[in-house]
Symmetry: C2
DNA sequence: GTCTATACAACGATAGAC
DNA sequence: GTCTATCGTTGTATAGAC
């Protein structure tokens, strides 16, 4: 693994564990048994490191949501696809939780990153809009345009700030992957009043699936920290 | 006005305007045309100032939610009371928005404040639980215990992180009071599927009331910054 | 590429005169 | 109560040898 990658990796780990603001460039270097000077050979400054992490985040996001394949054949998908999206979100939320935990702070400190963030998120919400419209076309979701939009934005806010919310609830401040999975039933709860009765059964199954996931990761907690 | 109060006042203003972490004790002193030494005569350190602000916040919260009057005569109230609560929340969110905008950060930096925060919030959510149960008893709200609890926690998260969410949406990062009012229709939207049909009309009136409020403050924007 | 050593700036906080 | 002056610490970042 290249030194640059090692630094990025260590930075993510320390940021997640101790909070981005509590981790200095010296900490990162020390954690790698490396001199601060060496770190600055590979990165201009701390912001530069965070930006590199953001790029990784964007990469994974595009990959998981299939935003790269410009094959034009975007599968609308049913509730199974919704589930895949939720898994992607939860995975990213865990992997890059320091971003979610201090979003306003990180964005307000660097205008470039704020712009980058919005450009990363935008296509995802385009995709989600099309996905919800698809669910409605299939008769799974029963809602007018206005309600669909409200649901989308509500979901957006709840998802983005879920790690931050967990952070305020836990005294020590350390959240677990199982806790992150806890957002799924909440999102489903918001959609339930708008689900077609026939689809409720499948939704229940998906909810069960996520509950199992949550307990699985509760067992192997710390392994994939 | 006593110097101590002036400092608190200035601190709140600067924190709200520029973000708590971007405001140093020197900035506060300079803003008041005062020496740093003088500021430190009145407060032991920066945390001390923030704690004082927290105490003010708690005071106002207790006042607005009537948590002081231990007369035992807690009026359960209908939707008009819900409205009063919403106004209280929005008002506090605006007045102390820097707290809401960087909650995880502020709490993680100071364990004492984290505990204080939880002790401030707790009775409010007790009150809100009783209020929602009251609405159900009056036939305004139709939901089982589980759904009521889910609604409460969802509302809690949406409200607390509304200013932070707005912060991520606005490029400059400066939010307005009118924008803060925007959370009200979202909260109402979450409850709508569980409202009794007879109550929907009154809900619509309340929504109109808040829309007017929002445009009013849009006009006098900056006056009560 | 990596190290040691160090410059530099910012901020928090204090001492002591008035 | 308020000032001026200043210290100490910490974190960012660079210079220059290896």
């Amino acid at each position: 693994m290249k030194t640059k990658d090692k630094i990025i990796h260590a930075a993510i780990e320390l940021f997640n564990l101790q909070g981005e603001q509590n981790v200095t460039t010296n900490h990162i270097a020390a954690h790698l048994g490396m001199s601060p000077g060496n770190l600055y050979y590979h990165f201009r400054n701390k912001e530069d490191i965070i930006q590199a992490i953001f790029d990784r985040y964007a990469e994974q996001l595009n990959l998981l949501f299939g935003l790269d394949d410009n094959s034009g054949s975007e599968s609308v998908g049913g509730l199974r696809t919704s589930m895949r999206y939720m898994e992607a979100v939860v995975g990213l939320m865990w992997q890059f939780r320091f971003i979610y935990e201090n979003l306003p702070d990180i964005l307000s400190r660097d205008v470039v990153m704020a712009e980058k963030y919005r450009q990363i998120q935008e296509p995802v919400y385009g995709l989600m809009t099309r996905h919800l419209l698809g669910l409605r076309a299939q008769g799974i979701l029963l809602a007018n345009d206005e309600d669909l939009d409200a649901l989308l934005h509500l979901m957006k806010q709840v998802l983005i700030f879920w790690p931050a919310y967990l952070h305020t609830l836990t005294p020590g401040g350390n959240i677990t992957k199982a806790m992150v999975y806890g957002v799924v039933p909440r999102v489903f709860f918001m959609f339930r009043p708008y689900m077609a009765p026939e689809a409720l059964d499948e939704l229940r199954q998906l909810e069960q699936y996520f509950q199992d996931k949550a307990s699985q990761s509760r067992v192997k907690e710390g392994v994939d920290a």
